[in-house]
């Protein structure tokens, strides 16, 4: 193992741990300390605007609807999510965020945006583009590695693809305003 390989390996692990821990601590010390990171990501997958079905939200998160049901039950009890039957098709359950859920979701998005802003701040436009390009390539490589461990060939959605989709949806939501 070369010095560069050793250093990059260590840095990748540290970046991952630090992002997760910063997110966790900001939640614990913030206004929404009753929410776990997983619950916050569930709110994020539902989004602050249109109501979503259980199945599309489960797909975005890369979990089964059974797992999501347990999580939604808890979020309904905590007052962050509303569950309603579709008026036209009673078989469909739609979930949306309460006022507190929307505020939590917006503040969480802001947290990620501020984190990214601070990381990019010292760089020129070209350097920012280069950094995003290189991190994207790392992400693509790791996504491919993850797929190798995916035993279920029919399961087209890897966890990472799902995370990527959620991020893309969020970007689209923000761009569409």
């Amino acid at each position: 193992m070369t010095h560069e390989e050793q250093e990059l390996g260590l840095l990748l692990s540290r970046v991952f741990e630090n992002v997760v821990m910063t997110e966790e601590k900001s939640l614990q010390k913030g206004y929404f300390s009753d929410l776990s990171i997983a619950e916050m990501h569930t709110l994020d997958a539902i989004g602050p605007y249109e109501a979503r079905t259980m199945s599309e939200t489960a797909q975005s998160l890369g979990v089964t609807t059974g797992t999501l049901t347990v999580s939604i039950d808890r979020l309904v009890r905590k007052g962050y999510v509303i569950r309603k039957r579709d008026e036209h098709d009673r078989r469909i359950v739609r979930i949306s965020l309460t006022r507190d859920g929307k505020v939590a979701c917006r503040m969480h998005s802001k947290f990620h945006a501020v984190l990214a802003r601070h990381i990019l701040e010292p760089y020129s436009k070209d350097e920012k583009d280069m950094l995003i390009h290189m991190v994207s390539e790392i992400d693509e490589f790791l996504t491919a590695q993850l797929l190798r461990y995916d035993d279920d060939d029919d399961n087209e959605m890897s966890i990472r693809e799902t995370a990527h989709d959620v991020a893309a949806q969020q970007r689209r939501r923000e761009q569409n305003g």
Binding site: Y31, P48, Y49, R99, K102, V103, R106, M107, S109, K110, A113, R173, E174, Q175, N176, G177
Partner: protein, 102 residues
Amino acid sequence: MDDTGDPRERNLNENDIAKKKDMILDDIVKLVVQELDISPTEITPDMSIEDDLTFDSLQIYELVVDLEEAYDIRLPDDMLDSIVTVGDFVDLVYTLTTEELS
């Protein structure tokens, strides 16, 4: 409306805009009063939301979510970045509600 239009009609239009902005300001003042427990007369459009009203990020997002709900609009973060005063909020809500109608 271009500059060659009837000045009386133009004034009427400007009055409509001013009236609508006043209504938006009233709504924002009501929401701020609920949050801060101060008199509505103390709030003016030139006041800074963060520095004068001392709103923190939670209070700003509560206001944003309430305005989105009340006016059926979306106030994404990139638009909020340019908001400093109560008047900026009024102008943004006015612009978004007018865009929706046109």
